[in-house]
């Protein structure tokens, strides 16, 4: 392929001028530790020798989890007798029914505000609000017990307040907008299939239905309210070295008070750095 024309060369030159130093991001020691962890798996190469055998411990665990889910999955008898508002529920729940009901609940919910509290295995926590009516959102991130940053996306402008440096700026939402519409993405994941109803569970005194599925290398579990079918809790556990997350959902109606969430007040003493 010919790569002598200027636009590609200019793009490459720009990329390499600003490309991060990957050696600084991940040092030699960290790389060797990772390599050792990966190759410590003595399991056989499935494509070469043992296609039916488990490979690594995490894969085996993940496979067992899914296998267990499949074993116990199936119609689940509904223990409740009546529902608020006279809604009828099937006596026997099935995966298909719960997935459909959850998708419908997400698409048609009368709530217009969801708060998602997120805990990551790396110790970071965040709280996220999403306003369905206007598409506005807010995120508060806490690291090591300290408020690390706030951001709001209102209209097409994202405002970020970064506490460690006492700076703030605005920017087009860019890639972060991909991560905004959580209910929509849950709906898409359910629509893509692969989730199985694995049981009922009481969470904080509420009856929930537990769905389990695989997304790539990650096992995702979603608990939905057994009456409203809205998500109550979600966990993602990657089989590799990735960060696990647990999210809990709280659905409500937007009020004048909650609307103020999306109007950030810049703390005094914070420096406005160049907007992007």
């Amino acid at each position: 392929m010919t790569r002598t024309t200027s636009e590609l060369d200019r793009l490459a030159a720009t990329h390499f001028r600003f490309a991060p130093d990957t050696r600084a991001l991940v040092g030699d020691n960290e790389r060797e530790v990772l390599l050792a962890r990966i190759t410590a798996d003595q399991a056989r190469d499935p494509s070469r020798r043992a296609p039916r055998r488990g490979l690594v411990a995490v894969a085996v665990i993940g496979a067992c989890a899914i296998a267990a889910a499949v074993v116990v999955a199936g119609p689940i008898e509904h223990r409740g007798s009546s529902t608020p508002g006279g809604a009828t529920h099937p006596r026997i729940w099935t995966t298909a029914y719960v997935v459909r009901a959850t998708m419908a609940a997400l698409a048609n919910t009368s709530h217009d505000l969801v708060r998602i509290q997120m805990a990551l295995s790396n110790g970071e926590t965040s709280t996220f609000w999403f306003d369905f009516a206007n598409g506005d959102s807010r995120t508060d991130v806490v690291r090591a017990g300290e408020l690390n940053g706030l951001s709001t996306i209102v209209g097409h402008v994202e405002t970020v307040v970064y506490y460690p440096k006492k700076e703030w700026w605005t920017t087009p939402p860019g890639i972060s907008a991909l991560f905004i519409d959580t209910p929509k993405i849950i709906e898409e994941n359910l629509a893509n299939g692969g989730f199985t109803l694995v049981g009922e569970q009481m969470l904080a005194g509420e009856e929930t239905l537990k769905l389990m599925g695989k997304i790539g290398d990650t096992t995702e579990v979603l608990w939905v309210d057994a009456t409203t079918y809205l998500p109550v809790q979600q966990t993602d556990v990657p089989s590799g070295a990735g960060t696990s997350t647990q999210a809990s959902f709280s659905w409500s109606t937007l009020t004048p008070t909650s609307a103020k969430l999306f109007k950030l007040t810049i703390p005094s003493g914070f420096r406005h750095v160049s907007d992007r």
């Binding site: 392929m1 790569r3 200027s6 636009e7 060369d9 200019r10 793009l11 490459a12 720009t14 990329h15 390499f16 001028r17 600003f18 490309a19 991060p20 990957t22 991001l25 991940v26 990772l34 390599l35 990966i38 190759t39 499935p46 690594v56 998602i116 997120m118 990551l120 790396n122 965040s126 996220f128 959102s137 995120t139 690390n148 951001s151 970020v160 700076e167 700026w169 860019g174 890639i175 972060s176 991909l178 991560f179 959580t182 994941n189 997304i215 790539g216 290398d217 990650t218 979600q234 993602d236 990657p238 590799g240 070295a241 990735g242 960060t243 999210a247 420096r271 750095v273 160049s274 992007r276």
Partner: protein, 192 residues
């Protein structure tokens, strides 16, 4: 081929290509997500170590691309502030002088950001990752002729955005643009 030889080959692949794969991932996600994606990529490579091609970079990038797409789906509700903080804007007082190369970079950044994500990714894979059309076809799972046609159109749109054509380039003095460096990244991944 003995197990030891396979292991040695894998270790060589890991050490030779880790930087390239990490650079690709960091261009599309914050550092922590990128590191997760690269680790997952090499776990896949280890599990499929007898299938690793002789020239593995495009194959590894293809695995990383799918891993990043999965991350997007599983972490969709986690609006990581690191996504924004990883590419923090430069404070006014730290703003560098716009030397001639930097000025050209700003023009490139501006033009690149005007392109559709699909064009961005295609141009990126060719220009920044140095992949051939055939390798790009493997990464994006399209036939090579389709890639060639798309690349042709992407390059034409990029030239138009740059304000250039094949035969003549315009000068873009620093005064015409005032963008911060680093805005080339990250590229939004399209749905898989």
């Amino acid at each position: 081929v003995s197990d030891e030889e396979v292991r040695s080959h894998f270790e060589r692949v890991f050490r030779e290509h880790y930087d390239a794969v990490l650079a690709y991932a960091v261009a599309r996600a914050d550092v922590e997500l990128a590191k997760d994606a690269v680790a997952a990529t090499f776990v896949v490579a280890w599990r499929r170590r007898s299938e690793i091609p002789a020239e593995p970079r495009a194959w590894l990038i293809g695995v990383t691309r799918r891993t990043l797409a999965d991350q997007r789906r599983t972490r969709a509700r986690y609006v990581s502030l690191t996504l924004k903080l990883a590419a923090q804007p430069v404070a006014f007082e730290d703003e560098p002088d716009l030397s001639e190369p930097l000025a050209d970079s700003n023009v490139v950044i501006l033009a690149f950001r005007r392109l559709r994500p699909a064009d961005q990714e295609l141009l990126w894979l060719v220009a920044c990752e140095g992949l051939t059309n055939a390798e790009v076809a493997g990464v994006l799972h399209f036939p090579r002729p389709v890639i060639a046609a798309r690349l042709h159109r992407a390059r034409r749109r990029f030239r138009a955005a740059l304000g250039t054509d094949d035969d003549a380039e315009e000068d873009h003095p620093a005064s015409q643009v005032n963008l911060q460096p680093g805005l080339l990244l990250p590229i939004a991944l399209e749905d898989q």
